[in-house]
């Protein structure tokens, strides 16, 4: 392993890396070792064209670009010398020669690398007199993205992204010299499953998503680390939250999971959080079909009573527990404990499926299918057979993913004695449920989710639901308490539940909500 000195500090770095890569590997890039850069991106091929990352390397007469200069044992690199500062100043001045400087009306302002670096490394005045380039603005290049060619600094990250990640190559640089522009190929739209990532990697306001544009100024947003719940890949994200509202998901780097990307579908799945079809109150369905909105505790009391009488008359064997692959491990661990205490053995977890690809998109369209399996909620087929064939009189159901495999047989569910539903969104299942509880979305609670590869990842409350809603685990705990089951007396504390799960369930050993940290941890036994 080569030793490299950077600004007088010795580092051991990996063989075959460039200076910038090596600093990034060490986690020091712009985090201890400041080498501003535009065209270089950790997950794209090296371009070497913006020339901002020039550094002094002993033995070279000229400055070298850190992004493309391979490390060598004994290399001495200086990143903060006068000549480096001069070069950065030069690049910044030249980048701004044709930039419109329209920050006040640019939606990138506040998270713009041109703004940041101009402030940090640039000159405070312009020496140009001539008019700047006039090019296409608010240019619609596809279903998700608008392009402003004037703001573009031609780092070509977007071009390389489309070529190298989704391998769709919609974008290219057209013309040359200072007439160069980014554009889609004639007759082509920027339209692929990952198109909106170009807005994340665009260092300036040239590429913006139609979805987020002008919704909120970014400096009002809190970035809360979390996990996308669109599929079982569990892409790491930041939830952009302001005034108790999620405005966007942006990918959060995790080289073990999603590198720096997220699919468009997952990115837009934040809309489910504030969707108008959120279940926002506990409901009781009377025998005459009338639905009554009640307080949670009233619903708990009634649900407990129904369960108690059903078990007393038919036995626990007449009941089934249907888990949701959207609930957290902590919710499902609590569900498991409740079912154990009640003696209900019939358990399952339906997992919605869909399209997948070789990149990030997984067929299982739920964030915690692997966690559900690890906690004993498996294939729903046997339970569905019992439901269709008789012998089932009651069910505690989390979520509405049962609707898919059940199909038209949903009416069978209506004929059961007792159906208790805990769900985040309205669905057809409500019409057959006796008691309905509104649940929290993964963005509204603390807990862990297990992705397809068995990686346990943390979610945490990014906002408070503006209505009465609880984690599934909390409702189940209160239900257990109402049923006077032992061990359900305490207040709902997902952190304590998580620790207990990590102790009691071997698959989760060492994977409680605190231990997994922000970037997750693989389950000791791997994928379930």
């Amino acid at each position: 392993m080569p030793n490299v000195s950077i600004d007088g500090v010795e580092y051991e770095v990996a063989e075959g890396r460039t200076i910038l890569q090596a600093i990034d590997d060490l986690g020091l890039l712009m985090n201890g070792v400041d080498i501003p850069h535009y065209c270089w991106h950790p997950k794209l091929s090296i371009d070497g064209s913006c020339r901002l990352c020039q550094v002094e390397v002993e033995g070279f007469p000229k400055l070298q670009i850190a992004c493309n200069t391979p490390v060598k044992d004994g290399m001495v690199v200086r990143t903060q010398t006068e000549s480096v500062q001069r070069a950065r100043e030069g690049v910044m001045e030249l980048l701004l020669v044709n930039h419109p400087l329209d920050c006040p009306i640019c939606d990138q302002a506040g998270e713009c690398k041109l703004q940041d670096y101009a402030f940090e490394y640039g000159l405070s005045h312009a020496r140009t007199e001539e008019p700047r380039r006039a090019l296409k603005k608010r240019y619609d290049i596809g279903p998700t993205i608008l392009l402003d060619q004037e703001r573009c600094i031609l780092c070509r990250r977007c071009v390389r992204f489309c070529r190298e990640v989704p391998e769709t190559s919609e974008l290219a640089v057209f013309a040359r010299g200072d007439r160069s522009t980014i554009d889609v190929h004639p007759g082509v739209e920027l339209d692929n499953d990952y198109s909106m990532n170009v807005a994340d990697i665009c260092p300036v306001g040239a590429l913006t998503t139609k979805d987020f544009r002008f919704k909120v100024r970014v400096w009002f947003l809190d970035d809360v680390p979390g996990v996308c719940t669109g599929c079982s890949n569990g892409c790491n994200i930041h939830l952009g939250v302001a005034s108790n509202k999620v405005y966007r998901y942006v990918p959060r780097r995790n080289d073990e999971v999603n590198e720096t990307w997220i699919c468009d579908e997952g990115r837009l799945s934040y809309k489910a959080i504030g969707a108008p079809d959120r279940l926002d109150a506990s409901e009781l369905r009377h025998a005459d079909g009338r639905v009554e909105t009640v307080r949670r505790d009233q619903a708990i009391t009634l649900a407990a009573a129904k369960l108690r009488s059903l078990i007393a008359t038919q036995g626990a064997g007449a009941l089934a527990g249907i888990a949701s692959a959207h609930a957290t491990n902590e919710d499902l661990f609590t569900f498991r404990r409740l079912l154990d205490a009640l003696g209900i053995e019939s358990r399952a977890c339906p997992v919605p499926t869909g399209r997948s690809d070789a990149l990030l998109i997984k067929a299982e369209k739920a964030a915690n299918a692997a966690g559900a399996r690890a906690l004993g909620f498996g294939d729903p087929a046997p339970v569905l057979d019992r439901l269709r064939g008789g012998g089932l009189e009651g069910a505690i159901v989390l979520g509405h993913d049962l609707l898919g495999p059940l199909g038209p047989d949903v009416s069978r569910l209506g004929s059961l004695d007792t159906v208790i539903l805990i769900d985040t969104h309205h669905s057809e299942l409500e019409r057959v449920a006796d008691v309905v509880f509104p649940a929290r979305h993964a963005a509204e609670k603390l807990g862990t989710l297990t992705n397809h590869a068995g990686r346990v990842q943390r979610v945490q409350p990014a906002l408070e639901p503006p209505f009465e809603a609880y984690a599934e685990g909390e409702i189940l705990t209160r239900l257990g308490e109402a049923l006077a089951l032992p061990g359900f007396e305490a207040d709902w504390d997902p952190r304590a539940v998580s620790k207990r799960m990590a102790q009691e369930v071997r698959a989760f050993a060492g994977c409680d909500v605190d231990s997994v940290g922000d970037s997750g941890k693989p389950m000791p036994g791997g994928s379930a």
Binding site: G48, R51, L52, L63, L94, G177
Partner: protein
């Protein structure tokens, strides 16, 4: 039409002879004996060593040691190795490669064969400037003849060595004369220089080890093989041996090509060979090596045309394209032409080049219009400094150097424009 250099030496000795263009005529004058000798009597290492000893420098502009360049090609590799012949000749003021292709295509092919043997290359791509339709036709004819005669192909002259030559036509960009821009264009991509590393000797055409040499560079090689390093060193200076073909253009009585030893004095070329400036006017400035090289004022023309001596005057030999400007010339207009060219031709990858070329052009055009300020001159030099030595290829240097040269020697022209707020050279060429 100009077909034969005014002054000739070994390279262009037979260029007046139409038969020299044919395989038969070339062979009758000893053609392909040098290649035969290399392939049958010499090891590749011997050839590289000989060319190194002869001191041949690349004639494409950078003047790098040809033998040394060949030695960079990997010996142990499973990959096929290639040569690329740079016949893009895109530097304004240069027109020597054209005549070498038209009048001596076999001479170049023989040089290519020897270089191929020395480097172990199995194929040469000749990248010919798009506008060179006729030279390309001449070369293709020669390739066809050589293939038919077994001089190129699967079994070169019966030695078992394989070498094919493929002619590619460019589509007209200056930057495709830069060796990695050439390789990109050769591969069918946009002509943009590649970042280094990797260097072409590791990762060249289609990702294979490749050496790129200029047309004229190849043409010298058979002569070195035939007559030896000492003979070659008999021409030129100690550091810059051999002849080169100077192209003289601009305000001279006899514009044209002159094959002369390196180290020939610039004033000798301009005044004796090219006949000086017509109508008794005086020389104002001379660009010694193609448009990207800094200009020399009339007082500095006593310089030997070799890199070591030109460097002392802060300019370089480049491609040997000598452009003469007489006393009527407005140097700000010259700067307008030069900066416009580089602005138009910058590939646009690197920030400094893309934005700097345009900025310089806007400033000099403003000065020429009579709207310049003294501060503009400082900004110009500052922009040059920000472009120089900081980009993927030498294009930004090539764009900055001539502006620096004009400001170094003809600053008074610029200042006069600023003072009078108009162009003080009514008789100068028009933009």
């Amino acid at each position: 039409m100009l077909t034969v250099p005014y002054v000739t030496s070994y390279l262009s000795e037979h260029f007046g002879d139409d038969a020299f263009r044919t395989l038969e005529g070339y062979r009758a004058r000893g053609g392909y004996q040098a290649a035969k000798k290399a392939l049958t009597e010499m090891s590749p290492e011997d050839v590289v060593e000989l060319v190194k000893t002869a001191g041949l420098q690349g004639r494409g502009g950078a003047g790098f040691s040809t033998g040394l360049k060949w030695s960079f090609m990997p010996k142990e590799t499973d990959k096929p190795k290639y040569l690329a012949c740079n016949a893009d000749e895109s530097e304004p003021g240069s027109f020597k490669d054209r005549i070498l292709l038209e009048r001596g295509p076999h001479q170049m092919l023989e040089g290519i064969l020897i270089a191929a043997w020395a480097t172990g290359a199995e194929k040469t791509f000749v990248y010919v400037r798009g506008e060179y339709a006729y030279p390309a036709r001449c070369l293709q004819q020669a390739i066809d003849e050589a293939e038919a005669a077994g001089i190129l192909g699967a079994n070169v002259m019966g030695t078992g060595f394989r070498h094919d030559v493929v002619l590619m036509r460019g589509a007209g960009a200056y930057i495709c004369g830069e060796e990695t821009g050439l390789l990109e264009s050769l591969e069918g991509k946009k002509g943009q220089p590649r970042k280094k590393p990797p260097f072409p000797a590791q990762y060249g055409a289609f990702g294979m080890p490749t050496t790129v040499n200029n047309v004229e560079t190849f043409c010298h090689v058979p002569h070195i093989l035939t007559r030896g390093a000492d003979w070659f060193r008999g021409f030129g200076t100690e550091k810059s041996p051999g002849t080169t073909i100077f192209g003289v253009s601009g305000h001279v009585v006899r514009p044209g090509l002159y094959e002369l030893p390196l180290g020939t004095r610039l004033d000798e070329i301009v005044f004796e060979h090219a006949g000086g400036v017509p109508d008794g006017r005086k020389v104002k400035g001379v660009i010694p090596g193609g448009m990207s090289m800094p200009v020399l004022p009339a007082s500095m023309l006593d310089v030997p045309m070799a890199n070591e001596s030109l460097r002392e005057r802060k300019t370089m030999l480049g491609t040997g394209g000598i452009m003469v400007m007489d006393e009527t010339t407005c140097m700000v207009r010259a700067a307008c032409v030069i900066t416009y060219f580089f602005r138009d031709e910058s590939c646009g990858q690197c920030t400094q080049c893309r934005e700097g070329t345009g900025w310089m052009n806007r400033i000099v055009e403003r000065i020429e219009r009579g709207a310049g300020t003294h501060e503009d001159l400082e900004v110009l030099l500052d922009v040059c400094g920000k472009m120089e030595g900081q980009t993927i290829c030498a294009f930004a240097d090539a764009a900055a150097w001539p502006v620096q040269g004009l400001l170094r020697h003809f600053r008074e022209d610029f200042e006069e424009h600023v003072r009078r707020q108009k162009c003080p050279f009514p008789d100068s060429f028009e933009l």
